[in-house]
Subunit: 421 residues, 2 copies
């Protein structure tokens, strides 16, 4: 952090998140990531992020430290109406200002309640207690106004901790102010590839680093079960460099790339199915609706997804999927035979082009020597017939469920791609 | 942060997470939260958390800063085999040590590959390059060993960034070391309540703060659509104080508490249904399997969940739920009539005690003046008959979906509770 001193010519930005819940493990901080992503879009860089508890002295100390080292501090949290909301007081102490009712902020709070025909709680008035000299920032969504302050050439923005309120205020008030303070640079350019089916060291060994254009960085991240490969370059010719790097990597890794940049695997598979005019039905047992839920988290899923049966009970497999009882009795619900029968029965019942079935043991219980936890069968029925495969996935329940769901997406992707070619 | 100086008698612990992806918005940091929660279980407090990019100098500067101010630093990330994994080098510089192949660490990497009968990539050898004097920490899950170092009375632990590897190594190596360094204190005690159906200021206004025992703190957090209310107390009589506070709050808020502490609403509703011997089937349209996916993320869902139909297409509503075509034509799939017919048809098809149906417009498209985005109908069929209600939820697609799913859980909770009484 002392290293920051050497960079004070840059337009350095820091995020300070406040809240006991961020440091005692109750809640994960998402605000830092949201702010960071938005800043990156305009070529601004986040220099560091810091989290401190809901203690006035800790917030004050963090503010003092950061204002000495960066040009802009964006603070989230502690603006609410309850007793643990101490940020305004800490800001007043850190900037040597008194705390007073800010009339503009008070009017913002009043107007929020008026517009919604709701009664204002007395505690909401506290939200207008701001350091003298602060400019209130409107909150379109919640009751707590934000505010802006200056100290020793550092600009401080105070936003609520609730993610959607924070984000709306950041876009409405902070971004325009940043653009005035420091014109946005051409952003560092980046391409992201989301790969399925190869471990990170294997991917690393497949990348011909020496052939990549100079100035192209490669970085890795994991979003189980996907490995993210990120190419980055700076400068005016960044796009061309990345194009060249991509042309080199595409033949080597392209087969495993499920999505790029802002795309999601589920969104892309959905588009492939829609474009190929393929209708889909799903039968999910151990994944319990996860594949359907992934698909339907995207707008437009109704263009290809006809329906999904989460068939936990054997009776559901018999009724909706026409799996014969003797088959269930002989082979069990987690078997190649059952997966095949589920896919065939589902396709028969629905008349969709594709019918995909998943049955398995997600754990933690239900495993046997022959079929341990992580045993999963996937079956896909189409006019070409039925394909079934047994997998053995590792890890706890949620990992087995996610791996099964993404493997199902991968099957559908490959089917649709094969049709295209 | 300068405030840390005043606390140097305490056993202060800091977390340093490294990774460009944490500061450019690509990936949210979950490691800080995991470590914080685990520390809290043993009465250790996380003093602050810091994130810096994958730059050797930034990591080095952060390490220098933190080692001056706290007793223990837990670092995650940058131990992989790829070029952006620079933590060991930064650690060597920050502690003034040379980097060398650590034989014990190398043997750990080799043995990982041997056990799995997999070929080792040459880049994996880099993972054994550690500062002189470092003690390697075994990694049961991945290839990268962690390590432990001392500097000027500060203990540093370096763990991988991949969450499950980090967590396993934290439990296996870091926690036992912490207990040796500083006996765990009686933890600060905490009770969490997860409330549904009341906004935060309303809850705040309902809490009789003056009646609560002295020393009991109240804090709020939001996990949409739930509001978390947290009671905390220190000292030997913490549990008794919290018991008394809970006894005061229970009659006021109890009706809205869906879960406590580590419980989840979906887990609790599942248990209520299981204990009441109620079988359940679901028909999800706009939530696309989210309710089923919530239930089945918990082990033991098969005890009550018979099946779920994600009926996106009208044909699915006709086949599986026996919704008459004329009804769909006359009222549309998003209508009170359709929700009622779905629940009745589902219960008839499945024979379960309860059949719950959700149909609505999650958006962003599909809204009309009469039925705007956010219009959702929920219907519950039981032997008592059918209950249907229309809702108007706010926000983007994912919020409408989550609110609908939790409202469905709430209906099931209230039904099961009413049976109990």
């Amino acid at each position: 952090m002392q290293h920051l001193r050497h960079h004070n010519k840059n337009f350095d930005i820091a995020v300070l998140t406040t809240g006991d819940e961020l440091l005692n493990g109750e809640l994960a901080d998402t605000n830092t990531g949201t702010i960071a992503a938005s800043l990156a879009n305009y070529g601004y860089k986040l220099r560091c992020s810091l989290s401190v508890p809901d203690q006035e002295k800790e917030i004050e100390a963090a503010l003092r430290y950061l204002t000495e080292h960066v040009k802009v501090v964006i603070v989230t949290g502690g603006l609410g109406s309850t007793g643990d909301d101490l940020t305004a007081r800490a800001a007043a102490r850190a900037t040597g200002q008194q705390l007073a009712i800010n009339e503009l902020a008070l009017e913002m709070v009043h107007s929020w309640f008026r517009k919604r025909n709701r009664a204002m709680e007395p505690s909401n008035e506290r939200q207008a207690l701001l350091p003298l000299g602060a400019q209130p920032l409107p909150n379109r969504i919640g009751t707590a106004p934000g505010f802006r302050l200056q100290k020793d050439g550092c600009e401080l923005f105070f936003l609520p901790g609730v993610p959607n309120e924070m984000q709306a205020m950041f876009e409405q008030s902070v971004l325009p102010a940043l653009k005035e303070l420091h014109p946005p640079a051409p952003a560092r350019q980046q391409r992201n590839f989301k790969l399925f089916g190869l471990p990170e060291p294997k991917i690393d060994s497949m990348i011909p680093y020496r052939q990549l254009p100079e100035g192209v960085d490669v970085a890795f991240a994991l979003d189980y079960p996907l490995v993210l490969v990120k190419l980055r370059a700076d400068g005016d010719d960044a796009a061309q460099k990345l194009d060249r790097a991509e042309a080199i990597l595409q033949p080597l890794l392209g087969d495993h790339i499920m999505a790029r940049d802002e795309e999601t695997p589920e969104g892309n598979v959905g588009k492939l199915l829609s474009n190929a005019n393929l209708s889909l039905s799903l039968a999910e047992s151990c994944t319990g609706g996860l594949v359907a839920s992934l698909f339907t988290s995207q707008p437009g899923a109704s263009a290809f997804l006809e329906r999904c049966a989460v068939t936990y009970a054997d009776s559901a497999k018999q009724d909706w999927l026409q799996v014969p009882l003797p088959l269930l009795q002989q082979h069990g619900a987690v078997s190649e035979q059952c997966a095949r029968a589920m896919a065939i029965g589902l396709r028969h019942a629905t008349g969709t082009d594709l019918a995909l079935a998943i049955t398995g043991i997600a754990g933690p219980d239900g495993g046997t020597a022959e079929k341990p936890v992580g045993t999963v069968f996937i079956a896909l029925a189409s006019q070409e017939g039925v394909h079934v495969k047994r997998y053995q996935f590792n890890g706890e329940r949620s990992k087995v469920q996610r791996m099964s769901a993404f493997m199902a997406l991968e099957w559908l992707r490959r089917f649709a791609l094969r049709l295209q070619n």
